[in-house]
């Protein structure tokens, strides 16, 4: 019994965030989430996979504090984070749109979180430059958002999310609007960043292929009201590159996920 408890404690230590029986009802009476439970562990790359409009974004907004729950709790254990009221954890969010300030150039857009934290621009010049280099935009540091392509804007948004050195990044279909080639490249860049900074990433997508490529856990989300149907565990240590992207292994994985996804849909429809 005691060992069990210890084991449980040890496991709990690695929990970064927990949604406990979360229900969200909008003011128009629509039930978006119902009794949703989700645990996020340290160093997870977890994908929330679901159809458009099923409530994925609502889950993310509740996690980062932009929306309040109607019932249930969001726990960010103090053991892993400094707790504060507004921003429950040291986390960054990358939205569906890059959300850059159009009147600031690439450098100042990436510097923004530090500026809001009252950091000195000169002293942090090198830090910002390092992150610009990380996302491969060194030559574009003086460009304005309107002069950049969609993929470049997303890179700026990612660099801005990383500059505060967060432990968790929430991403809401960040590459949804990009072409496949750019998307593949950014997927690989993201995986490298994930490994380099030992991040925990919560990633929203409606693409089975993207989720299978990126994550080590996939949470299948049901239609509205959203809840978790199943969590699929994937192999963590596979080398992700172009060969893997074209391998039958990867295809089979996608097939498996797709089958499960369709199964839950059919069950829901029958009900």
């Amino acid at each position: 019994m005691i060992t069990n408890l210890n084991k449980k404690n040890k496991k709990n230590k690695n929990i970064l965030a927990e949604l406990d029986q979360v229900t969200k009802i909008f003011t128009n009476g629509e039930v978006v989430l119902k009794n949703l439970n989700l645990k996020i562990f340290k160093n997870d790359f977890i994908t929330l996979l679901g159809k458009s409009g099923c409530g994925k974004t609502t889950i993310l907004k509740i996690l980062c504090g932009l929306l309040k729950t109607t019932e249930g709790k969001v726990n960010w254990p103090t053991s892993t984070f400094k707790n504060s009221e507004k921003n429950p954890a040291n986390l960054s969010v990358v939205f569906q749109d890059p959300n850059l300030l159009p009147w600031l150039n690439v450098f100042d857009n990436i510097f923004l979180p530090l500026k809001l934290n009252k950091k000195n621009r000169k002293k942090n010049y090198q830090t910002v430059m390092n992150f610009i280099e990380l996302v491969g935009l060194t030559d574009f540091k003086d460009y304005f958002p309107s002069q950049l392509s969609g993929g470049m804007k997303m890179r700026v948004a990612i660099a801005r999310a990383l500059i505060t050195k967060p432990k968790v990044i929430l991403m809401d279909e960040p590459f949804g609007a990009l072409d496949e080639i750019t998307r593949f490249k950014l997927n690989n860049d993201l995986l490298n960043i994930y490994k380099k900074y030992k991040l925990t990433i919560i990633f929203i997508t409606h693409s089975i292929y993207e989720s299978a490529y990126l994550s080590n856990k996939i949470a299948l989300i049901s239609d509205r009201p959203a809840s978790i149907n199943e969590i699929i565990y994937l192999d963590k240590d596979e080398e992700k590159n172009e060969d893997y992207y074209l391998s039958t292994d990867y295809l089979n994985k996608c097939k498996k996920i797709s089958k499960k996804f369709n199964y839950y849909n059919e069950v829901a429809n029958e009900e």
């Binding site: 980062c64 504090g65 932009l66 504060s84 507004k86 921003n87 960054s92 969010v93 939205f95 749109d97 959300n99 300030l101 159009p102 009147w103 150039n105 923004l112 979180p113 500026k115 809001l116 934290n117 304005f144 958002p145 309107s146 505060t164």
Partner: protein
């Protein structure tokens, strides 16, 4: 392409002036009814000193009033945007001021204020103030919601949100208000000069028009009219230049189109 932009309107302008001159010569219209363009031109040269000093007075009233409208309009818009109660209390009052024609208020202002320069200044300010206030206020309130979320996530305080998000977002709105106000402040200044109708050292271009009309110096009226138009054009170009420089990098309205 670029040549056409300048050439076509210039050519039209020259043709119109030429027609004007020819028609008057053929009809033998007396110069006190409609002067020939050539006579207006000669009058501008002959009366240059009195005209230019009058123009400077009108210009200084206009620009000072515009400056006051910018400072007060912007400041009040910022304050109102932060506190809902101010918006509810102030807006009806500003609307009353806006919808009452300045020509109707001007005589009252002139009775109340002895100094004609200050009276003219207040008239011009009253009409220039509202477009800046209301446009800036709309700009301050129409911020992209996802950017507000972003600032919330980075724990920005109210002042940071105002300074780094609301004011830059409002800039294009403010500038379009400024373009309207610049034209209106000239109208306000001219109206005030008409109503005061006082000559002497502080008389502007409008007074020259009144004075010349009494003396049937129609050519001088036209000369003053041309300088008023010129004043308006100078202000318009100046404001557009400011708008172009501040917005060229990021706002759709001033972006340079690649062909």
């Amino acid at each position: 392409m670029k040549n056409k932009v300048f050439l076509a309107p210039s050519l039209l302008f020259i043709i119109l002036i030429f027609l004007w001159e020819i028609i008057l010569i053929i009809n033998e219209t007396p110069h006190y009814i409609i002067p020939k363009p050539s006579l207006v031109f000669i009058t501008i040269i002959n009366e240059w000193n009195s005209l230019i000093s009058a123009m400077l007075i009108t210009l200084s009233v206009t620009l000072l009033a515009l400056l006051m409208a910018v400072i007060l309009g912007f400041a009040i818009a910022v304050i109102i945007s932060q506190f809902k109660i101010f918006e509810i209390s102030f807006m009806p009052l500003t609307v009353v001021l806006q919808v009452t024609p300045i020509i109707a208020i001007a005589p009252l202002i002139i009775i109340l204020i002895d100094n004609t320069f200050i009276a003219a200044l207040i008239c011009a300010w009253l009409v220039a103030f509202f477009p800046i206030l209301s446009n800036t206020l709309v700009g301050l309130k129409s911020i992209d919601h996802s950017l507000v979320d972003l600032f919330f996530l980075y724990k920005a305080n109210k002042f940071q949100k105002l300074l780094f998000l609301q004011i830059p977002s409002a800039l294009p709105f403010f500038l379009s208000g400024l373009k309207i106000s610049a034209g209106l402040s000239l109208i306000g200044a001219i109206v005030a000069e008409f109503v005061t109708g006082i000559g002497g050292s502080s008389s502007g271009l409008a007074y020259i028009i009144i004075e010349s009309s009494y003396r049937l110096e129609t050519a001088k009226m036209f000369a003053a009219l041309i300088l008023i138009a010129l004043t308006g054009i100078i202000i318009y170009v100046f404001i557009h230049l400011i708008s172009k420089i501040t917005l060229k990098n990021w706002h759709e309205s001033e972006k340079i189109k690649e062909l």
